[in-house]
Amino acid sequence: MREPFRGHHDMGGLPAGRVEKTEHDYAFWEKRVDAMNVLLASKGHLRVDEMRRNIEALPPDAYDRMSYYERWISAIAATLLQRGVLTADELGRKMEAIAQREGVPR
């Protein structure tokens, strides 16, 4: 039996709850993520379709659990790694250094 795969993001028409009219003022870090996305796209280091593909590749539970800009920064990271703009090693080491610098416990 063929059972085609429906992407978790492809949700049009699925049952869902009442729409709560929620909004928040964007945090500065969220705007920085947005700004980096805009700049990387305009400089040819990332395409919006690559971003979307990488967001869609998130496991369903992560897609639902992560906030909007958490999904975005994770997709920016994935795109830059795929393109070789960044390496996993340098990104990992940089994140460690920042966590130490900012006193974030493991």
Binding site: E20, H24, Y26, K31, V33, E70, A77, L80, K94, M95
Partner: protein, 212 residues
């Protein structure tokens, strides 16, 4: 603080901040700092460019969209241009749609339009600014195409049965803006006064323009 990009962002908060704000550094916020610092070290972006991109983002909001709507209500030549080629018409307002196109859909006594993006969260950000959370929510994205009248009722909007509800699913390169119906009794109002009647929600199609 010498780095404006890491300074607390000072502007009045109209809505409650979410848990993932600047206060605590989570995994993804550390990732954001790391990527930004690496991109700056590599000379791919500069702090000034990021700052300018944020300022441009902050400058866009519902007031811009409302000015476009009010001009369309008061200037038939502009309205014709806006409906024929929104991308070109909004250049009058300094709006560059980038790689997307602006497609304006007009409410009439017979048709009510509403906008959704079921696949992600495409939104006419170049004319309305960043989208509200509910627009990006699973509940809105799932249900707006299947039960638009139910969703509209949850927003407090009752569209008469004999009016066609037309949903636009932004799946590709168009970005949609609803041109709301001009409220009655506004013939004498200036474009500036008219713009004050036009909310972001009216331009997404989940509200009507306000009466004066």
């Amino acid at each position: 603080m010498t780095d404006p990009l890491s300074a607390a962002h000072a502007h009045p908060h109209r809505h409650p901040p979410r848990p993932d704000t600047d206060d605590t550094l989570g995994h993804y916020q550390i990732m954001e700092i790391a990527i930004r610092e690496l991109l700056i070290e590599k000379g791919i972006v500069t702090p000034a460019e990021i700052q300018r991109a944020i300022e441009a983002m902050d400058a866009r909001g519902e007031a811009l969209g409302a000015r476009i709507v009010a001009r369309a209500w008061t200037d038939p030549v502009f309205k014709a241009r806006l409906m024929a080629d929104g991308t070109e018409a909004v250049r009058d307002f300094g709006v560059d749609m980038g790689t997307t196109r602006l497609f304006v859909v007009e409410n009439t006594p017979a048709v009510h339009n509403m906008i959704v993006c079921t696949l992600c969260s495409c939104y006419p950000r170049m004319v309305l600014g960043l989208p509200p959370d509910w627009y990006k929510s699973r509940n809105y994205r799932s249900r707006a195409v299947r039960e638009p009248r139910g969703v509209l009722r949850e927003f407090g909007l009752s569209v008469p049965d004999d009016v066609e509800v037309r949903v636009h699913d932004s799946t590709a390169d168009m970005r949609y803006l609803v041109l709301p119906l001009r409220p009655g009794g506004t013939e004498s109002l200036s474009a500036e006064r008219l713009a004050a009647l036009v909310s972001r929600d009216a331009m997404i199609g989940i509200a009507f323009a306000r009466n004066p």
